[in-house]
């Protein structure tokens, strides 16, 4: 972590601006050529890249410390347990959880939402009840609720968005009646970039005693997140979007809520005592963590949190705004290009379509220029339907992206026009 700490900033007024060009060099994968061109990686919303500090932490763990956790009295098991639980403390502090017992490891956001759907919603809901989500949700915050609705007879209802891709808060508020038992809302939209006013939504829901789940997958890499300030009841996120390994993520929930919830999966680790006639479950958060966990993933996520904290999330957020403004302006100058998602509060995710050219052709042609864009429906088909497009191209940025790369993107898009005429 030393390298990162040397350029640390607290993000407070007057703090030195991090040297983002130097930080970029922490990411070995970015130093390559693709189809003969220096790689321009603009698919960060799908998965960000890992800094050497994270890669090294995982390697070090496997080379020195690996054993199963919470099991043995031997030295390696103790070291592994310390690394694994240490990561939990770091992540808890990163999102300002009241306790590390409120951090339940999952495979990612999707599993975290499924956990809430099955262990919290399913036992509570019945016919006549409603789950309210929004029109801009990722499939991972739609399909788990459809399962619960099928299982319980509850109904899934959807708060509308406007043409800029912003939530219609008044309409959402009007839908919050006694039938609604849970609100599920995305913090930052992966398809539109919209940053939702989650604290305000929680306020509206809580005034009617309705709990709120926030899908934070795209938020943690871009904006400072404080779950207590947001006030929500559940916050789900993924490691791989925030420079950590794939296959690790977490559900944050208040202790009181987690204690009320029955376990989800059964197996080792989640038990205190097992007899054939009865089993006592483990305490929080282990009651929700059946089986040997992704220890190396957690260690990597802990290292990613250290890395981001050293830079400062305020500084990262500010850089995000710069890149968003520069890229929006540059893309706006391309004839026939339409940006999908123009919310007032946005993260550096830019979905767009080019007149008469399908996003997949954009993706293939621009890949041969060394530029990685995502093309498709971004696991948000209802959003695509709303804007009347089957798919979009999407450029999504990270703090390691540069203004030069935005120029490369623009040149690449001109090349697309040239090829397809």
């Amino acid at each position: 972590m030393k390298e990162a700490l040397d350029i640390t900033t607290t993000g407070t007024a007057g703090a030195a601006r991090p040297d983002f060009a130097a930080l970029r060099r922490d990411f070995p994968i970015l130093e390559q050529r693709v189809h003969g061109h220096p790689l321009v990686y603009l698919d960060n919303a799908a998965s960000a890249q890992r800094p050497r500090q994270v890669i090294d932490a995982v390697t070090r763990y496997y080379e020195r410390d690996h054993a199963n956790v919470h099991r043995g009295v031997h030295t390696l098991s103790q070291r592994a347990t310390e690394a694994y639980e240490g990561a939990r403390v770091k992540v808890a502090s990163f999102v300002n959880a009241a306790s590390e017992r409120e951090i339940v490891w999952t495979r990612g956001t999707t599993e975290a939402i499924n956990l809430v759907a099955q262990a919290w919603a399913r036992p509570r809901l019945g016919p006549g009840d409603r789950i309210l989500i929004t029109h801009m949700e990722h499939h991972s915050n739609i399909v788990p609720w459809q399962f619960v609705c099928e299982q319980t007879g509850a109904e899934l209802v959807v708060a509308p968005i406007d043409r800029r891709g912003q939530l219609e808060l008044d309409a959402l508020e009007a839908m919050l009646d006694e039938r609604v038992k849970l609100v599920g809302v995305v913090h930052v939209s992966n398809a539109l970039g919209t940053i939702n006013p989650v604290a305000r939504i929680v306020e509206l829901a809580h005034s009617r005693d309705i709990p709120v789940l926030v899908d934070g997958a795209q938020a943690l890499p871009h904006v400072p997140v404080d779950v207590q300030a947001i006030g929500c009841d559940f916050y789900a996120f993924s490691g791989h979007k925030m420079y950590a390994p794939t296959g690790i993520g977490a559900l944050w929930a208040r202790t009181a809520i987690l204690e009320e919830m029955p376990p989800w999966q059964g197996g080792g680790e989640m038990i205190k005592m097992v007899r054939f006639d009865r089993t006592e479950f483990n305490e929080l958060p282990y009651k929700f963590e059946a089986g040997t966990p992704n220890i190396a993933g957690a260690v990597g996520l802990g290292a990613a949190v250290d890395y981001l904290s050293a830079i400062g999330m305020d500084a990262i957020h500010a850089r995000d705004d710069e890149l968003l403004a520069a890229a929006t302006a540059a893309l706006g100058d391309i004839p026939g290009l339409r940006i999908i998602g123009t919310a007032e509060h946005k993260s550096s995710v830019i979905s767009f379509v080019l007149d008469g050219i399908h996003p997949h052709d954009i993706g293939t042609i621009i890949d041969l220029e060394g530029i990685a864009l995502r093309t498709g429906h971004h696991c948000a088909q209802p959003v695509m339907d709303f804007f009347g497009v089957a798919a979009t191209a999407r450029a999504s940025f990270a703090f390691y992206n540069t203004e030069d790369e935005i120029d490369r993107l623009v040149a690449g898009l001109h090349r697309v026009r040239e090829v397809l005429g």
Partner: protein, 149 residues
Amino acid sequence: MDLKDLYRDVIVDHNRSPRNFRKIDPPRRVAEGFNPLCGDKLHVYLRMDGDVIEDISFEGSGCAISVASASLMTEMLKGKTAAEAIDLFSRMHSLLTEGDVEQPDVASLGKLAALSGVREFPTRVKCATLCWHTMKNAVEGADEAAKTE
């Protein structure tokens, strides 16, 4: 890899002005194809005269590869028998997915050979095969929406 292997002039032309891009009203048969990867949808319409494809057309949104593939397909199949259409499906499938197609076979495909470059772009193979699967369903009268492999 060269872009011109994929976006050959024939493909760019058929994308810009797709042939038989319309409904057949009323169609004798219609089949829907769906590519879950990109969300693209495509309809293939057929009117048979006995065993012969009297008219064939398509509609839908798609990338240059899928539009050109469908456009070329409709051009090629008009007047062919159902058996000939299924045979062409097999040969196109080999061309797009297998890569060891004999030169004479490629030549016999005429303009469709322009799609051979797609093979070099694995993520785009489905774009080219979708309309062929859909056509096969329409010819065979299957009800289910076609999917790419």
